[in-house]
């Protein structure tokens, strides 16, 4: 066996180990991501169905094509499993990460991952790095920071510094009833990103965002986020479930392409500074 193959196998085995002790290891699909047909999609990362859905060990590459680039490799690969019910497609991403990074701070970055599909399924696929002009890609982005917020962590300074002392916020004055429209309005007025309805700013009900891009540096928010997801950190790694509609033109039984990205927060990976895959064939199972 050539040394390169040995490393790849070690990576696959190591990914399998991440699935958790005692769990049945899923079969491996090396050539493609196989979206297995199920009547109903799994709703959690712990669903039993993941034990029999083939896992594709996706090798992650440096994003070193466009600025700002990442030139030091971090997360080496992500294990991908997929299920479809004919209308939606679910992806389960599992990767090793020694540090849990889910707190937002001036110099703190969150762990994150994303799934990218061509907006339109056609033989002529967009460029794998964020698509290209006239060939849009759809991206579903999950963030550990979003997840912590959805899980109930408050967006205040005490999440970062539990012993911080705050004298007074004017929008929390006793004269303003907590949660009342005037109080909410005042709090929003001084959070301009929230006022501008920037989806980064919340309030957050899902830990994911739907995005569109037509090339590097063009990422934009989809009109509405329709995808859902959840992420769980345990055993030195993340397991993240992302569920999104099948893209335009993708049919059960058909094929398209899919790509993935992982950001390691402790290495200040954000935006273009990420580990990513090339296009990987995605076969969509059908009821037949």
């Amino acid at each position: 066996m050539k040394p390169r193959h040995f490393i790849f196998l070690a990576a696959v085995l190591s990914a399998s180990a991440l699935a958790g002790c005692g769990k049945k290891e899923p079969p491996v699909s090396e050539a493609e991501v196989k979206a297995v047909f199920e009547k109903s999609l799994p709703s959690t990362v712990d669903d039993k169905v993941w034990e029999r859905v083939p896992a594709h060990p996706a090798k992650l590459l440096l994003q070193d094509m466009v600025e700002p680039r990442l030139l030091q490799a971090s997360t080496p690969f992500v294990r991908v499993q997929s299920v479809t019910d004919g209308r939606k497609v679910a992806f389960l991403l599992t990767w090793k990460d020694a540090t849990l990074d889910d707190v937002p701070g001036p110099a703190l970055f969150g762990d994150a991952c994303a799934v990218q599909l061509p907006a339109t399924t056609a033989a002529d696929v967009p460029a794998p790095q964020m698509g290209e002009d006239g060939k849009t890609v759809e991206i579903t982005y999950w963030s550990a920071i979003f997840q912590a917020s959805v899980n109930g962590r408050k967006d205040d300074i005490h999440a970062l510094y539990p012993r911080a002392a705050v004298d007074h916020y004017p929008f929390e004055a006793p004269s303003l009833k907590a949660g009342s429209p005037p109080q909410q309005e005042m709090a929003k007025r001084y959070a301009p990103a929230r006022g501008a309805e920037n989806p980064m700013a919340g309030p957050r009900t899902v830990p994911v965002q739907d995005l569109l891009a037509d090339g590097p540096g063009t990422i934009r928010f989809a009109e509405k986020t329709v995808s859902s997801g959840s992420g769980k950190y345990s055993g030195g790694g993340w397991t993240v479930l992302l569920v999104r509609p099948l893209p335009n033109g993708a049919q059960p039984g058909g094929r398209t392409q899919v790509a993935f990205a992982v950001w390691e927060g402790s290495r200040q990976e954000v935006g273009a500074r990420k580990m990513r895959t090339a296009w990987i064939p995605l076969s969509l199972g059908s009821a037949q």
Partner: protein, 421 residues
């Protein structure tokens, strides 16, 4: 990279975008000689823009004590060190300050934050910078004004520090806001083009709808005036109180008004205005605009760290008592001439210095009416003569805003009101 002219460093330089200049530029002059670090500006800004959750560490306007302090800590030393590392021993100026408008302070032969190519990989491809840690943002002014002991001697103050009348120690207060640069490093670094410079007044803003909180701007800004807000996951910065500059504040009836930090300045160190720009980035000749006069005619006010290359639009009258080498590093080679002019001001400069903080409205033009001689003396061996001239300030609409004299009226409190307030 485009090739653009930066008059502050007297040469062409690299910048990621083609040069594009606004019709008018937001600019200001701070007279450091007058600053007492009362922090009125700091609190005026804080209580207007950054008192919400997630902004606890944000001070868009701040005053720090130099040479010890900084917000975030060591911001300027860190960038200077990075540049020195990128271009060891060669961050120097050549030529001399002169009349050439394209290089009024001479020529900077070193490299700017946009030109440190060897240092730009792997982390930052467009601008040399660094991302301050949370701790560096968290304690503005800590230890800055505290008396300290000698290094290694505990429980005892440094006795030399209190010797009078000769001050062997020195310090000064540096008030800072965003410089709304002509070549903004924050804008250059943003991979999403979510930062823009307004064509009408040159104010640099982060699009709060588009920002995704990558913090490349925070890393790139050498003055560290873009800041990340954790609870909205995006970055924010000084907005130059643009509603006031636009004349939207009801107080001025539609006329442009200075920012909150300017108008709150009780030390009267600050003046902010809008200056006309030529298409090549030079300032349009506007002889009786007080900012134009102080910066381009009297040359008494100088840019902050011009060698960074961003062409900042904040200018400072340097403090007279500070070692010149330190000041030349901070304000460039124009320091000696500026201090000379400020120490022995001529009639016009003395009159213009009276314009600071007599009104909240932006002054677009001044006029001096000569008055009688009121004082004559010798200062450090030089003869000085004071005239009680009247200086009149005009607004954008050409109408008089106020007039004031060199010799301020003296009011004596009557005896019966002594000790009353």
């Amino acid at each position: 990279m485009a090739n653009v002219h930066n008059w502050q460093i007297g040469r062409e330089m690299n910048y990621p975008y083609e040069a594009a200049f606004p019709k008018r530029q937001f600019a200001f002059v701070f007279n450091i000689n007058r600053c007492i670090a009362c922090q009125s500006c700091t609190m005026a800004c804080k209580s207007t823009w950054t008192f919400n959750k997630g902004q606890e560490h944000m001070w868009w306007a701040n005053v720090e004590t130099k040479p010890y302090g900084g917000y975030p800590q060591f911001w300027d030393m860190k960038t200077l060190e990075l540049l020195e590392k990128a271009n060891p021993g060669a961050q120097n100026w050549s030529g001399k300050p002169g009349a050439d408008k394209k290089q009024p302070y001479g020529k900077f032969d070193g490299i700017t934050v946009f030109e440190a190519q060897k240092m730009l990989t792997p982390d930052s491809a467009r601008v040399l910078g660094y991302l301050p840690t949370d701790e560096e943002w968290n304690s503005p002014n800590i230890y800055e004004d505290n008396p300290v002991g000698k290094k290694g001697v505990r429980g005892e103050l440094d006795k030399e520090g209190v010797e009078l009348p000769e001050h062997k120690t020195w310090f000064f207060y540096l008030a800072r806001i965003c410089n709304h640069c002509s070549y903004p490093a924050c804008l250059a670094a943003c991979p999403r083009k979510a930062i823009y410079k307004r064509p009408e007044d040159g104010i640099v803003l982060i699009d709060q709808e588009q920002c995704r909180g990558y913090r490349k701007c925070v890393e790139a800004c050498p003055y560290k005036k873009t800041m990340y807000r954790g609870n909205t996951r995006v970055s924010e910065k000084c907005i130059a109180c643009y509603p006031r500059v636009e004349g939207k504040d009801p107080e001025t009836g539609g006329q442009p008004m200075e920012t909150r930090c300017m108008t709150a300045c009780i030390g009267q160190i600050r003046m902010q205005g809008l200056v006309k720009m030529n298409r090549d980035g030079s300032w349009t000749e506007d002889r009786y605009n007080p900012l134009y006069y102080m910066i381009h005619v009297a040359k008494v006010a100088l840019p902050l760290y011009p060698q960074f290359g961003t062409s900042p639009n904040g200018f400072y009258i340097p403090p007279r008592w500070v070692p010149r080498d330190y000041l030349r590093q901070m304000f460039g080679p124009g320091v000696d001439e500026a201090i000379e002019r400020y120490t022995y001001p001529d009639r016009e400069l003395l009159a213009v210095l009276q314009l600071f903080r007599r009104s909240n409205r932006i002054i677009f033009r001044y006029q001096i009416k000569e008055g009688p001689k009121v004082y004559e003396a010798t200062l450090r061996g030089r003869k000085i003569t004071l005239y009680n001239d009247t200086v009149i300030a005009y607004g954008q609409d050409g109408k008089e805003i106020f007039r004031t004299t060199i010799d301020e009226p003296l009011h004596v409190r009557p005896g019966k009101h002594a000790n009353s307030i």
